[in-house]
């Protein structure tokens, strides 16, 4: 589904990604973990070109993301993204947030887009909030709407950038539940998170990053019970306790 080859990224003098290689196949759920500043969010943002990488290549469904001139909008339509801070559009209702892209880009008629919108709101358990504005929702509800919004374009791949990091603890569960359900339905997902229990439950593969490189990857069982890399061991010790 998506293939990353020797990806490098600099912010001025800061070398954030130092040669990332990654291959995610259809239906796979990959969880990226690692300490703050390890480059995991940057990697995720490079995948849909919110950050411009400096060298290396990204192929999404065999189309180059890194070297596309005008095709990036087309590519992004098939790649949903969920942000740490939700980024819902505050001047639109929940339903308008969800139907915006299908109407604007897929030229869907309003009725059809709204049908999809209601269906998605049902899936994330917020059917009664269709006409609310984002500021009337709790953090967990906002994030569930954001997930529905990304799903409205029926993407092939979903990117999650620390989707629960800005949430109050009691709201983390409801968002993770939606994500689990999504994973169970076979969605290809790449998730950056600090939720270790969740990572263990939902991941097909765990990737541990530190200092701009992938230090270890493997099945969650393997990684959480018997990490081989020293820094991964230290990290797990710190976050699990």
């Amino acid at each position: 589904m998506i293939k990353v080859i020797d990806l490098h990224k600099n912010f001025k003098n800061l070398h954030v990604l130092k040669g990332i290689n990654l291959n995610v196949s259809k239906g796979e759920v990959v969880v990226i973990i690692g300490p703050s500043g390890s480059g995991k969010s940057t990697l995720l943002r490079c995948l849909n070109k919110l950050e411009e990488s400096n060298s290396g290549e990204i192929l999404f469904k065999d189309i180059s993301v890194t070297n596309c001139k005008n095709g990036i909008n087309k590519i992004r339509q098939d790649m949903g993204m969920v942000f740490q801070n939700f980024n819902l559009f505050p001047h639109m209702t929940v339903l308008e947030n969800i139907t915006l892209a299908p109407i604007k880009i897929k030229k869907m008629d309003k009725k059809q887009a709204e049908d999809i919108g209601f269906k998605l709101l049902g899936r994330v358990g917020l059917s009664d909030k269709a006409n609310s504005y984002p500021n009337q929702l709790s953090g967990g509800q906002k994030q569930r709407v954001a997930i529905a919004r990304a799903l409205a374009m029926s993407p092939d791949l979903m990117l999650f950038d620390e989707p629960t990091s800005a949430l109050d603890p009691e709201m983390v569960g409801e968002v993770l539940e939606v994500m689990k359900q999504l994973a169970a339905e076979g969605m290809t997902m790449i998730i950056v998170t600090h939720e270790m229990t969740f990572a263990r439950q939902v991941a097909d593969r765990v990737i541990f990053m530190d200092d701009g490189v992938i230090l270890e990857e493997g099945s969650p069982e393997e990684f959480f019970t018997n990490p081989k890399n020293q820094r991964a061991q230290d990290f797990l010790k710190r976050v699990v306790n």
Partner: protein
């Protein structure tokens, strides 16, 4: 004070106010359109567009509006732009267009700075979320960023619109029969230098106060989502 001149001259004030309103509406319309365009140029990553916009804004803000008005008034015909010489509400159309052009050129610079501030105050995540859905930069600007930006700066825009109405009085010097011009005619004809000014000040105030009321109402309406 003697306002008895009004019964003979009230039409001068009304006709003048009509032209003043027409000038203001056209100026606000073009000023906002070009202002938004300049703001987008100013924040673009293209160094040429950026420089053009910055230079324009600095130049317009750094020169008197009266000079700009005369430059446009004589400049339009100098560079070969002419308008059909027809009569609009008692004023010549070419003069009116020169007035609207000068006022719009002036106002666009101020609107641009206001809108730029508004755009930059919108959270960066809004553009990212919109682009991540596959919307183009301009679609995102139009549907996501500008509506929020304009809402943020509505009070400042309201001030600018009020300034436009007041500053439109300057075009009386190129002979447009707007409120100020007609006031001077009344003052001359009636040999009353003072009283007509009171009437005119009242009319300007009614116009600007109505406008600020409209802007305030609009602000309140848009607040529903906050």
């Amino acid at each position: 004070m003697d306002f008895s001149f009004l019964k003979n001259y009230y039409m001068f004030f009304l006709e003048g106010a009509k032209i003043t309103l027409l000038l203001a509406i056209l100026t606000i319309f073009f000023g906002v359109i070009f202002g938004i365009l300049l703001a987008l140029m100013r924040i673009s990553h293209n160094p040429i567009l950026k420089t053009i916009s910055a230079a324009y804004i600095e130049f317009i803000r750094g020169t008197p509006i009266m000079v700009q008005l005369f430059i446009v008034y004589y400049g339009l015909s100098f560079i070969g732009i002419t308008f059909p010489d027809i009569n609009v509400l008692g004023s010549s159309f070419p003069d009116l267009m020169a007035g609207v052009t000068a006022l719009s050129i002036n106002s666009a610079a101020y609107v641009a700075e206001i809108v730029r501030a508004g755009i930059q105050a919108v959270d960066k995540g809004q553009m990212e979320a919109s682009r991540s859905l596959g919307l183009t930069y301009f679609m995102s600007m139009k549907s996501i960023i500008l509506p929020q930006a304009i809402k943020n700066v509505l009070p400042a825009l309201g001030n600018e619109f009020i300034a436009i109405i007041k500053e439109s009085s300057i075009v009386s010097i190129i002979g447009i029969h707007e409120l100020m011009y007609n006031t001077d005619m009344v003052r001359g004809n009636t040999f009353k230098p003072f009283e007509p000014l009171i009437v005119t000040a009242g009319i300007y105030f009614i116009i600007t106060f109505s406008l600020s009321t409209i802007v305030r109402t609009l602000e309140r309406r848009l607040k529903t989502s906050d």
